[in-house]
């Protein structure tokens, strides 16, 4: 029973007028609200406001500069990188989640896979870039071994430092993140639903087409969106792996602030950040809608 529905506890708070009471249940959320205000809302407001400012005062030129060809190119690259790593990460992570969920619920394999996913989903930045270089880099141990065995995957050029390289490296944290986000939904699928489908005359195809598929689809799409946002906003790994240029938008933002050769354009950096914030905001909203639907079904 909720507090609102329970007369014994509904009276928390001081009476104001006409016997109505002011609920104080929101007090518990104050630390959280304070935290997100300082570290999320305030920076967002500063960035959004700063995007309309230049050294000489208010301006729209920062947004006009978004049409520069290298910015358009970086934005497209960011969307491609995010799209590909989200879809591949979601697909591979979903298969891994299904394998984990259908295994022994108390088994070592499950505990190990879930723990490893928890760690690897946060694995990024310099450490991940170094791991990539040391393993699949042109002097990496995996690459050298494969090259010696006539499996030279750089035969047509070293792609580790371009978009394709980022896609491979990003999957290293995207797949574990998918496992973390999607596994609870797969765990929520009850064996009775498959058995009920069978007893009603359905086969495996019917089960996935009419039962498990529709039930998991919102969670799958939601998790894919989360992976998309995760990839879109990732900076440190790309910065550590790619020293020069700005093939994706986060690197361009960095360049606009810290470039030693170009112009110092903080307002322009903020305009680019606003684009990222807008995309992530839309994706997050869609994610929340889909999660709410799944949560209702799988409660």
């Amino acid at each position: 029973m909720t507090a609102a529905g329970n007369p014994a506890v509904a009276g928390v708070g001081r009476p104001i007028t006409g016997g109505r009471r002011l609920s104080l249940t929101w007090v518990g959320a104050v630390p959280f609200l304070g935290y997100v205000s300082v570290f999320l809302f305030l920076p967002t407001i500063i960035i959004a406001a700063g995007a309309f400012l230049s050294d000489s005062g208010p301006t729209l030129s920062n947004f006009g500069n978004l049409s520069r060809s290298y910015i358009v190119s970086a934005t497209i690259n960011s969307l491609i990188l995010s799209g590909i790593t989200a879809v591949l990460g979601a697909a591979l992570g979903a298969v891994l989640s299904y394998a984990i969920a259908t295994g022994n619920p108390n088994g070592v394999l499950r505990r190990a896979a879930v723990s490893a996913s928890g760690v690897l989903a946060q694995f990024g930045g310099v450490t991940l870039a170094f791991a990539a270089l040391a393993s699949i880099g042109p002097a990496g141990i995996v690459y050298l071994w494969m090259a010696q065995n006539n499996l030279d995957f750089y035969s047509s050029g070293t792609w580790l430092y371009d978009l394709r390289g980022l896609e491979v490296v990003y999957l290293y944290f995207q797949i574990p993140l998918m496992v973390l986000v999607f596994l609870p939904a797969v765990d929520g699928i009850r064996p009775q639903w498959r058995e009920a489908t069978e007893s009603l005359g359905g086969n495996t195809w019917h089960y996935w087409r009419y039962v498990a598929g529709p039930l998991l689809a919102p969670a799958f799409l939601g998790a894919t969106l989360l992976l998309f946002a995760n990839s879109l906003s990732a900076y440190a790994t790309a910065a550590a792996l790619i020293n020069q240029g700005g093939i994706i938008l986060p690197l361009q933002i960095s360049n606009a602030i810290t470039s030693e050769v170009g112009l110092h354009e903080p307002g322009f950096a903020k305009a680019q950040a606003v684009v990222l914030i807008a995309i992530v905001g839309i994706v997050t909203a869609l994610y929340a809608v889909l999660q709410r639907r799944t949560g209702r079904w799988l409660q």
Partner: protein, 361 residues
């Protein structure tokens, strides 16, 4: 309401066997269900009753034996081809479908036309009294309502056999009792041969045409509820179904002597010597302390429990306690501490030879 009456089919389980990793779950179960009959398999956890049901459903493979439904050997037929309706313990409704869609789903799989399946699903929901809830999702229905929808869904495909796997165990007592009667009413109306699995003896005795009591993978006794209760075939059945006093005695020929009272044996071939007589509480008479004509045994009332029309009296005889079930009108004066006299009705009894403490089951 749709014409739901249809004749059921005979279901035969022949020497069914199932082992899991060296453990025998089902050890040669044979059982024939008459068309339209409702048989309840009753037993403690792990006795093999659910395994038996899942073998009939085709959700598990037997290691031996046959399942014959309507004269057809379906032992090797996959579950989705057996024409089985199944109601699970709980949580089996598809949560993303409304009650109506759940009920219609089986017909959709059988490629029944949209209009026809909508009509029949509506009729099935009417049959279980849930027409007003047709458009609700599972999470908007109570546990009892969900099980009624599950029953309608199982029956909507007009199965040859209906399998009920402890469908009431997740419900509270009041809903359980009401839904139990509801299931029986619907089953009688549609006439589908039904196998009902439960660990609740009251449920089994109330709902079934015949009850099969299972223990350790075997069928101990199969018979009408009254027979199971009043003439248990084995000590296990006597102790599992209803309450039983375990009274030490001595077998002499065709009788067992318990505290001076000679009780005839159900199975008079028992070897002479010490044994435990299994005596129902209703076969024990209790009267306030009087002369010996009130009963040969003297004891003290420990407790009296009011059960409505009857009361259960626990009497201490010094070395053992005995349960007696009496009409409440006779038990009013039997408060704790009252000195009483006991007598045993000379009904045929079963005996046990084990060393368990000689008290009630």
């Amino acid at each position: 309401m749709m014409s739901t009456s249809r004749s059921g089919v005979e279901v035969r389980l022949e020497d069914l066997r199932r082992r899991y990793a060296g453990v025998t779950a089902l050890d040669g179960l044979s059982l024939t269900m008459a068309p339209g009959e409702l048989v309840a398999l009753l037993g403690p956890s792990g006795c093999g009753k659910t395994t038996a049901l899942r073998l009939v459903a085709g959700l598990e493979e037997a290691n031996g034996g046959r399942v014959v439904i309507g004269g057809e050997d379906v032992t090797n037929v996959p579950a989705n081809k057996r024409e089985i309706g199944m109601v699970f313990q709980a949580y089996s409704l598809f949560p993303h479908m409304t009650a109506m869609q759940n009920v219609a789903f089986g017909m959709q799989l059988h490629e029944v036309g949209t209009e026809e399946r909508r009509k029949r699903a509506g009729e099935m929901l009417e049959l279980v009294g849930l027409s007003a809830h047709a458009n609700k999702y599972a999470h908007q229905l109570s546990g009892g309502q969900q099980q009624r929808v599950a029953l309608a869904r199982a029956l909507a495909i007009e199965p040859k056999v209906l399998l009920l796997d402890e469908p009431l165990s997740a419900l509270d007592a009041k809903v359980r009792s009401r839904l139990r009667d509801e299931i029986r009413r619907v089953q009688l109306e549609v006439g589908t041969t039904t196998l009902f699995v439960t660990h609740d003896q009251e449920e089994a005795l109330a709902i079934a045409d015949r009850v099969g009591v299972m223990n350790a993978g075997r069928l101990e006794q199969l018979g009408p509820p009254t027979t199971i209760y009043s003439r248990p075939a084995t000590p296990f059945v006597a102790e599992f179904v209803g309450l039983t006093n375990r009274l030490p005695g001595v077998v002499k020929g065709r009788e067992v002597e318990v505290r001076g009272t000679r009780l005839p044996l159900v199975k008079p071939d028992s070897t002479d010597g010490p044994a435990i007589a299994l005596v129902r509480p209703e076969a024990v008479s209790v009267a306030a302390d009087g002369d010996v004509s009130s009963g040969p045994l003297i004891g003290t009332v420990i407790a009296t429990v009011f059960l409505g029309a009857t009361s259960r009296v626990t009497v201490d005889l010094g070395d053992i306690t005995v349960l007696a079930q009496l009409p409440t009108s006779d038990a009013v004066a039997l408060t704790a501490g009252t000195r009483v006299r006991l007598s045993l009705r000379t009904d045929p009894v079963l005996i046990a030879r084990d060393e368990k403490a000689p008290t009630e089951a």
